[in-house]
């Protein structure tokens, strides 16, 4: 069994308007030393499904079912005390906005040391020394002085480094990074991504990186999981998915972002409409109201039947959720020429 194995994960929230189906039947595997990128729009369930791993929905109105095996232990079966002991030591999370994830009244060092002292029987002095060592490791200059600073005295990039130090201080096997660079500038983003990769090599941890930026995924991830309306719609090795995407939603994500290199004649093709409500997702394929290719499927199948995850035509270890019979041909002949005319020439 893989280091992390999520099977048929379901997260529902009961509200006055009905049940919000935030995650529906999500399954994936992740080994140590590997990175999984989860991509999707806001409200696609990517954060919700990942916080379920840490047990952050316990004590809320969420209904979580399925199986989450971390190192052979089903995290959904163990009690609150056991998961509390794992949280921070075996698995940790890096949040999007470090300013709101840190307590403004405590020094940065205090907050990082707390994570260490809870899981290790050490004196304050030892914890402080370990904190300074960790701050130094994540590249904060003069860590012995900055350890006594408050979060507001740090810049955005440094705060995110401190968050990473906090997450990694117990050397966890699994790190979940929820939009770790979205609030940062590109140059700082590049620094943080480099740092995460260095640390991963050093600690051999498994990383889940949640993002809406395919560029970040392309740089970081070994595997990619594309989520839409709470479901996995495409899953496989990163390069496979970027080169041979077979789900129209993934095409939409690729064609709606402009690029800094290549042809300026490349067109920007938006995905029309808006993401569906998770209260009442559309029947059939959840993406069908926004899909340009549903008419290619005979018998109105897209509007009536939810497609299963099936192996991609291009082969590889790659599954997609789409009724199209020949998605690889449609992509190569209809989508790619519009969004990357120069790439076609390069390959030819």
């Amino acid at each position: 069994m893989s280091f992390l194995s999520v099977r048929d994960l379901v997260v529902h929230f009961k509200t006055v308007d009905g049940v919000v189906k935030a995650t529906e039947g999500l399954s994936y595997e992740l080994e140590r030393g590997k990175t999984l990128g989860i991509v999707g729009e806001s409200g696609s369930g990517k954060s919700v499904s990942s916080s379920a791993i840490l047990g952050l929905h316990r004590g809320t109105n969420a209904q979580v079912s399925g199986e989450i095996f971390l190192d052979g232990v089903d995290l959904l079966k163990i009690n609150d005390e056991s998961i509390r002991r794992k949280r921070g030591r075996e698995m940790a999370m890096i949040f999007q906005d470090p300013l709101s994830a840190m307590h403004p009244y405590y020094t940065v060092g205090n907050q990082i040391a707390e994570a260490y002292r809870i899981h290790n029987d050490v004196t304050k002095k030892q914890a402080r020394a370990r904190t300074i060592e960790m701050l130094d490791r994540v590249g904060i200059p003069q860590p012995d002085r900055r350890v006594d600073d408050y979060p507001h005295q740090f810049s955005g990039g440094m705060r995110q480094r401190a968050m990473i130090a906090m997450a990694l201080i117990n050397d966890p096997g699994l790190v979940i990074a929820d939009e770790p660079t979205t609030a940062l500038d590109v140059t700082v983003q590049a620094q943080i991504l480099d740092l995460l990769q260095d640390l991963q090599r050093e600690f051999n941890s498994a990383i889940i990186i949640i993002t809406h930026d395919l560029g970040v995924v392309a740089e970081m991830a070994d595997d990619v999981l594309v989520m839409y309306a709470g479901r996995a719609v495409e899953y496989g090795p990163c390069k496979e998915i970027l080169v041979h995407p077979e789900m129209p939603y993934t095409w939409g994500l690729l064609s709606s972002v402009p690029d800094v290199v290549g042809d300026t004649d490349a067109k920007l093709i938006p995905i029309r409409g808006n993401p569906p409500s998770l209260l009442s997702p559309p029947p059939g394929c959840p993406f069908n109201p926004r899909c340009d290719h549903r008419d290619k499927v005979p018998g109105d199948l897209c509007r009536t039947t939810l497609p299963e995850l099936t192996p991609a035509r291009a082969g590889g270890n790659h599954v997609k959720r789409c009724h199209l019979a020949n998605p690889d041909e449609v992509y190569a002949t209809e989508v790619l020429p519009e969004i990357a005319p120069d790439m076609i020439e390069e390959q030819a």
């Binding site: 590109v186 140059t187 983003q189 972002v257 402009p258 067109k267 009442s280």
Partner: protein, 406 residues
Amino acid sequence: MTDMDPATVPVAEPSAIRAHAASTLDPNAKQVLSVENLRMYFPVKANGIIRRTVGHVQAVDGVSFQVPEGGSLGLVGESGCGKSTTGRLIARLLEPTAGKIEFQGRDIAHLSSRELMPLRREIQMIFQDPATSLNPRHTVGAIVGAALEIHKVVPKDKIIPRVQELLEVVGLNPEHYNRYPHEFSGGQRQRIGIARALTLQPKLLVADEPVSALDVSIQAQVINLLQDVQREFGIGFLFIAHDLAVVRHFCPEVAVMYLGKIVEIADRDTLYNRPHHPYTQALLSAVPDVKQAAIGGRRERIRLEGDVPSPILPPSGCRFRTRCQFAQEICAKVEPPLLQICRRHKVACHFAGELGHHPSTPVTMGVCGVDEHGSPVAGETPDVQLNEAGFSDTWLDLQTGQRTGA
């Protein structure tokens, strides 16, 4: 709220479905806006009873550029570089400390609010966050119609029809004028913001990060809409964003800011393919790139160490020198002028050159009247016309070191 469920309500979005290519540059267009040597210093006050001014945040420090009629100029840079302040100065939400803002040939930098009133019609702004820039207690009709009412452009009974017309232009259902902002999704709210900016048919739109708060699939819809309205109404855009790829798609000409100064300004192809400033090069190399990664290539990344220095006490000489791998003695002593090196390309660097071809001696020695180490040379006078807006017919050729023309 539930009846606005986007999955069930068909939303009129005629402009969103069309695919759009990038816009192009017209080098002979008239300029609608010309900014010269613009400065904005915010005072920093001491604590205590007597709030002495102890320093200034040099948010914008001598910025010059032009926006063509119906064209667009992109302004990019990291947070804190002064790009938003520049936008607010041009919309005259702030009064500049010094400098000229020439709008249609008239300097508006220090006009009083009464004198500005008619100009407010001509210059409008689109804000970053559509959730906070729309009054939650007003209906869309009131928000978009407010400008029509204040400026008395149409009779009172014609306001609603005009608002509906505008809602249709931006791809919203005109029947929804009675709804409140919270009943719309993020992308739709940004469309309301755009409709509001269009009500008075402005000549210049300052778009401050218009898409950065939106989801990627919605970003493209809004960018295409902005291109449509630009084409239809001939509006000049100052497009402020930190996303280099979005700016590349929208703006044929782009200026890069660092710590309150423009370090490089050029047409799109030059700036993105042959940047000459080390900061622009670093910025571009830091952008993660899907399509490159998809075909297996990955560009070499230039690592920028550390953070942007404080704008209260910026480094002497070149402001980028503390993070620049090419910095030498001269960079600490002499501030590099924004030097025109090609027909539409200006760069502020002593060692300007394409990546991998940075010269070993400063290219600015002649124009600054200094030697290699930045010490003044007796008898040499610095070239004074270095901070004007726009481009001249002659420029300094980097290969020959001579002034050349077309």
